[in-house]
Amino acid sequence: MTANLVNVLMGGVFHAAILFLVAAGLQVVFGVQKIFNLACGSFYALGAYTGVSAVAYFTGHGGPPALFILPLALGGLAVGLIGVVVERGLLSFVYDRDETFQLLLTFALVLMLEDLIRMTWGTAPVSTGGLYLSYGQARVLGAIVPVYNLIVIAASLAIAVAIGWLLARTAFGRIIRASADNREMAEALGVDMRWIYVRVFTLGTMLGTLGGALVIPATAAMSEMGIELIVEAFAVVVIGGLGSMRGAFVGALVVGVLRSVAISVYPELEMLLIYLIVIAVLLWRPRGLFGAVAA
């Protein structure tokens, strides 16, 4: 019984760890640039496919399978640099527009990236094969959990701490928070917004692509995975509160664990439950659990 419960919870926490990364990317971009990036799910899918290719290249060139997590993470981070191109090439044109147009521009990205992925990797699912269990399995309170899942959970926690440190303790973090709070004042004090935007957006993109890369040993990459994830990441940020990192953390845990519990108890409820919570939160507390100011 406990073993079963722990299994369900650990599955949920693993999912939450991945969701947190994508949602954190969404939050940092929304917080500073006030753009709700629908394409964060597409970046996640892009990271997943790149991760698979990087691992295949690594093991194909004689890399020891036990180290597959290195090319995986590096590949995921490297493809996140596409954020620079997207920000400079597309988003930088619409900062002074109505947010509807900004939203639609990220929807255009969703469409483009979905087909770019199909063109590059084909339509059949791809995976890293049996590498998932190459770190073995561990016993946690009677349940058997793949060690890889524990590594990802730890990595996600470490990233959460690192982001917290970045935002709270560094000069760059202070500038980010100042720009999120009051863009005009930050600019008047000499902050170059173009410089901030390109970095923030790339950071957001890299969090998404890394999340995609890390999830992939546990599953298979499919071209629809991006548009499916965005609605979950969306649920996370609404529950947690738009723009809040703490909100992304708590929201990811809520969505990840509830989904996992719902699947094991009453599968029909799965995402339905999550969306009902989202609606409840939007109606009673539109700024979310940790949101600062209602827009």
């Binding site: 639609l104 521009l105 929807f107 087909d115 969306y275």
Partner: protein, 318 residues
């Protein structure tokens, strides 16, 4: 005057089309007309009231599934009954959903509608026994004007009676919407879009009017959804998926949201461009994504903006 001439020409062309055009292109006109009805309603919300819904596919789904349930399970085959039933179902769903959504504007309205759309999508997907799950349901050929048209093959039925039936529905929907946006009610909506505070102080109940607009657009979407289901012959949950909502907003933008006929042009351009692109290049989303990005950045007033350059845009938005 010029509009009247253009409209009569377009009307005549559409009347004569099944006689002169290849069957294939006539069948492409069917989704165009169905989406035309959907978009007329969506633009009442987007262009006229200033609310962008990212969950409008919910009501397309409601309409399509109403048609499927009526024809397959309840043996109601008359399209003259199916369309009002779809409209009624949408109104019943939209009344509470709309009442909740219109309390918010801008991105929060978009998110709330998206969430409701996904609730309906997951319901369709997961409650297999009621909805057929991901396989969906069949939509049987509906009777038109009390006639089953049994002697017609599927294609002959679609390019003949069904084509003219859809055309009649589209024309009625257009006339009705024309009346709505020219009425005092339509003017109130525009005032709400441009300056909600002023509207409120002039005695216009802003949430109430937004709610009316939401209901009307939902009813239009459901009627369009029911029309859309017949040519496909099948309804499935992707009709209610959030990307479908995105696509219909895309169509409105493509045609031009600040013009009455823009959405119709957008539906036409979307359907025929999609068909053309797919015939030469399987990755239509790549082309359409680039096109959408181009429109958003360089031509926010859409295709209609190209024709109406010289006149001041009637409904510019801040």
């Amino acid at each position: 005057m010029r509009t009247a001439v253009v409209l009569s020409l377009v009307g005549l062309a559409m009347l004569g089309l099944p006689v002169v055009a290849p069957t294939y292109y006539v069948t492409l006109m069917l989704p165009f007309m169905a989406y035309g009805v959907v978009l007329l309603g969506l633009n009442l919300l987007f262009g006229y009231t200033g609310l962008v819904s990212f969950g409008h596919a919910l009501f397309i789904g409601v309409g399509a599934y109403t048609g499927a349930v009526l024809t397959t399970h309840l043996h109601v085959r008359h399209m003259e009954l199916i369309l009002p039933a779809a409209a009624l179902a949408a109104a019943i769903v939209a009344a509470p959903v709309g009442a909740l959504c219109v309390r918010y504007v801008k991105i929060y309205f978009g998110m709330l509608t998206l969430a409701f759309g996904m609730v309906f999508y997951t319901f369709l997907l997961k409650f297999y026994k009621l909805t057929g799950g991901d396989e969906g349901m069949r939509m049987l050929r509906p009777y038109l004007l009390g006639n089953g048209w049994e002697g017609f093959s599927k294609t002959a039925y679609l390019v003949g009676p069904y084509y003219y039936f859809s055309l009649a529905v589209l024309i009625l929907a257009t006339l009705l919407m024309w009346r709505i946006v020219r009425s005092p009610f339509g003017l109130c909506l525009k005032t709400i879009r441009d300056n909600p505070l002023k509207a409120e102080s002039l005695g216009v109940s802003v949430p109430r009017f937004r709610w009316y607009a939401f209901m009307i657009s939902a009813v239009y979407a459901a009627v369009g959804g029911a029309l859309l289901a017949t040519p496909t012959g099948n309804v499935d949950p992707t009709l209610a998926y959030w990307t479908h909502s995105g696509n219909v907003v895309f169509m409105v933008l493509l045609g031009g949201f600040s013009s009455f006929f823009g959405p119709l042009l957008g539906a036409f351009a979307f359907i025929f461009l999609q068909d053309t692109v797919m015939s030469v290049f399987p990755y239509w989303r790549l082309v359409f994504g680039a096109m959408l990005a181009f429109i958003v950045i360089f031509a926010p007033s859409g295709l209609m903006g190209l024709f109406a350059r010289r006149r001041p845009v009637e409904t510019s938005r801040a």
